[in-house]
């Protein structure tokens, strides 16, 4: 418990310290995917679509790495054709993928906030600007929305379906469902539309059983350890178990015993817009 509190406290302190220190590299209206969106896996940054626009340094920093050839010398492909990394004094590294080859600025020393780092991909290239914030001290990717200036958002997250899965059997929940007793996993399709209208991820997803919170995750961070992707700083989930190939998320297991129960699923975005759906189930 103490460890959890420490992690949350550290995150809160960092957010307070850096709040407003990072500006958007391009205008936020270009947000295509947010942290946790499904893009062949859990997206660990944000993706922006503003073709052929200058990409601005989000804060004062120092160029750590820049490469705009299709591959590294060992053959590994550059995501979106290029990669640049800027080290900030706060211990954060901001990382940019997909900037136009040939457009990367050749900084050697300090880069001031708002200086141009390069140009975003051209229209029709099928590429977009990827923006990541990596916390070098804690060795994790941070949800950039926590550190970027907040933007108005009236869109409420959507909960498109909630299902219970056991032994390969999946049962989509309706308002009143009959479930056999036993061990189940929740499979939830919850999204939050991004500024460009694509399905992104909510910031907070919770499940309550009979009014008692059983699961909750906050999309605050992700880290890689021993080759595995681990999500969230509290209630850590293995990406392999949490994120299904169709983009839905999976919690569990939970044991359901005979009787009537209520299930409440909520999805909340960073602005506080909340969607909540309740189901009544009869367990036989």
């Amino acid at each position: 418990m103490l460890k959890k509190r420490s992690a949350l406290f550290a995150m809160a302190m960092m957010a307070l310290t850096l709040l407003g220190a990072f500006q958007w590299p391009v205008k936020p209206e270009a947000l295509r995917l947010n942290f946790g969106s499904y893009a062949s896996g859990f997206y660990k940054g944000i993706e922006l679509n503003l073709p052929d626009a200058p990409v601005l340094a989000p804060a004062k920093g120092e160029m750590l790495f820049a490469h705009d050839s299709p591959r590294l010398p060992g053959g590994y492909p550059m995501p979106g054709g290029s990669l640049a990394a800027l080290a900030h004094s706060s211990g954060i590294i901001s990382i940019y993928t997909g900037m136009q080859p040939g457009s990367l600025a050749n900084y050697r020393g300090v880069v001031e906030q708002s200086e141009i780092l390069g140009m975003s991909p051209v229209q029709g290239s099928g590429r977009y600007l990827g923006f990541y914030l990596y916390d070098q001290r804690e060795r994790r990717y941070i949800n950039p929305h926590i550190l970027l200036a907040a933007t108005p958002d009236a869109r409420v997250p959507l909960i498109r379906s909630v299902a219970l899965v056991s032994g390969g059997q999946e049962q989509i929940l309706e308002r009143n469902s009959v479930i056999r007793q036993g061990s189940w996993r929740f499979v939830i399709d919850a999204i939050d539309l991004t500024a460009l209208g694509l399905p992104g991820a909510p910031f907070d997803v919770a499940v309550a059983l009979d009014g008692s919170e059983r699961f909750r995750v906050k999309y605050d961070s992700a880290r890689m350890a021993a080759g595995q992707s681990l999500l969230f700083s509290d209630n850590v989930q293995s990406e392999r178990d949490y994120l299904l190939a169709d983009g839905r998320i999976s919690f569990g297991p939970i044991t359901l015993t005979k009787g009537r129960s209520s299930i409440t699923v909520s999805a909340t975005d960073l602005t506080g817009n909340k969607r909540e759906i309740s189901y009544t189930i009869t367990v036989q």
Binding site: G41, A85, G227
Partner: protein
């Protein structure tokens, strides 16, 4: 000064001269044989056609051309593709997009589809990436995915041997991945104000790893395999201030590491006892070694030049030829130099004269 003083000085001078002459007669140093070069053959880029089996074929790829040719130049197979083709000794990759590609054998027969981003060959193995630049996926001989390994942060350097894959990241970590996809080691060189891995090399037998790491100062670090782990066996601070990938390579035989420097190509023995410089400007380079003659060749490339430099390790330069700058393909095998561009492929042979 008197007459006796001048005689004394003359005597000393004569003695020194005699010692120098005696040194070269008594301890003669073998002079390198002169290296000449002779043209062997040319394959025209017009020689396009269907793939056919090429025994002992050497793979090549540049711009929209790829294929295999035999060392004697008689058999050739040249194909066309939309872009740079990844090719190995037995297989090649073609794809419509970065995420939609397929594996073919050297005769052009489809082996399987590749589920992965930007597949590539290295260390005679097939890998692909995750689209975000964080993951490495290994594929078997039939293109099926074997495992996925996620690195701690974005990759800024990569290399692989037949048994070990190593990734260096923007946060200054090196991680090694074994054949089964499990982590073999994790190491952070440190020692610099800013941590980043800019270059990685692995020796063919995977016993040594070399890295260019950090900013302010930059370092060359050589790791050796210990009991199940890799440990630093030598290192050197560098004067460079690169913020981009830096080529570093082992010379076959595991004696020397070559690395890019602002003033040329550095040569460092893995035990740290040799620290020399090949005064060759190179933004990128490849190194080849003719073990039979103990000769090495460096293909050094800058924005507007491509040179082949023959040298006897560690630094005795024997000869240098300039290749057409548009030559995109260079390969040296023993004393044979193959190179090519849009006008065709050529073979030259280094001769001792």
């Amino acid at each position: 000064m008197g007459e006796s003083g001048r005689t004394w000085r003359l005597g000393i001078s004569l003695l020194v001269l005699a010692l120098i002459v005696a040194y070269f007669f008594l301890f003669p140093e073998t002079l390198p044989a002169e290296l000449g070069i002779r043209a062997q053959w040319r394959i025209s880029s017009e020689a396009t056609g269907q793939f056919s089996a090429v025994n002992e074929g050497i793979p090549f790829s540049f711009q929209d051309r790829f294929g295999y040719f035999s060392p004697d130049g008689r058999a050739s197979a040249i194909g066309l593709s939309a872009g740079g083709t990844q090719i190995s000794g037995e297989r090649y990759i073609q794809g419509d997009t970065a995420t939609n590609s397929a594996l073919f054998d050297a005769e052009g027969k489809l082996i399987g589809r590749i589920e992965g981003y930007g597949p590539f060959f290295v260390g005679n193995r097939l890998f692909s990436a995750t689209p975000d630049g964080l993951g490495l996926r290994a594929h078997d001989a039939f293109a099926s995915a074997q495992w996925l390994y996620m690195f701690p942060s974005h990759l800024s350097a990569f290399n692989a041997s037949p048994t070990l894959a190593i990734g260096g990241t923007v946060d200054g970590t090196i991680e090694g991945v074994g054949l089964d996809g499990s982590r073999v080691f994790s190491f952070a060189p440190g020692g610099s104000r800013l941590q980043v891995i800019l270059g990685l090399a692995i020796s063919p037998n995977a016993k040594h790893i070399a890295a260019i790491s950090g900013v302010d100062p930059q370092r060359l670090v050589v790791l050796g395999q210990g009991a199940g782990d890799y440990r630093v066996i030598s290192h050197r601070y560098l004067d460079s201030d690169y913020r981009e990938p830096v080529r570093v390579a082992f010379m076959p035989g595991d004696r020397y590491v070559l690395y890019r420097r602002p003033d040329g190509i550095g040569i460092w023995s893995i035990d740290g006892k040799v620290d020399e410089l090949l005064p060759i400007t190179a933004e990128d380079f490849d190194v080849y070694y003719d073990e039979g003659r103990d000769l090495a060749y460096v293909a050094a490339r800058t924005r507007d030049s491509l040179s082949i430099i023959a040298f006897q390790p560690p630094t005795r330069i024997l000869g240098r030829i300039e290749l057409p700058v548009h030559s995109e393909f260079v390969h040296v095998d023993s004393s044979a130099l193959y190179f090519g561009g849009m006008d065709g492929l050529y073979k030259l042979v280094f001769l001792e004269e």
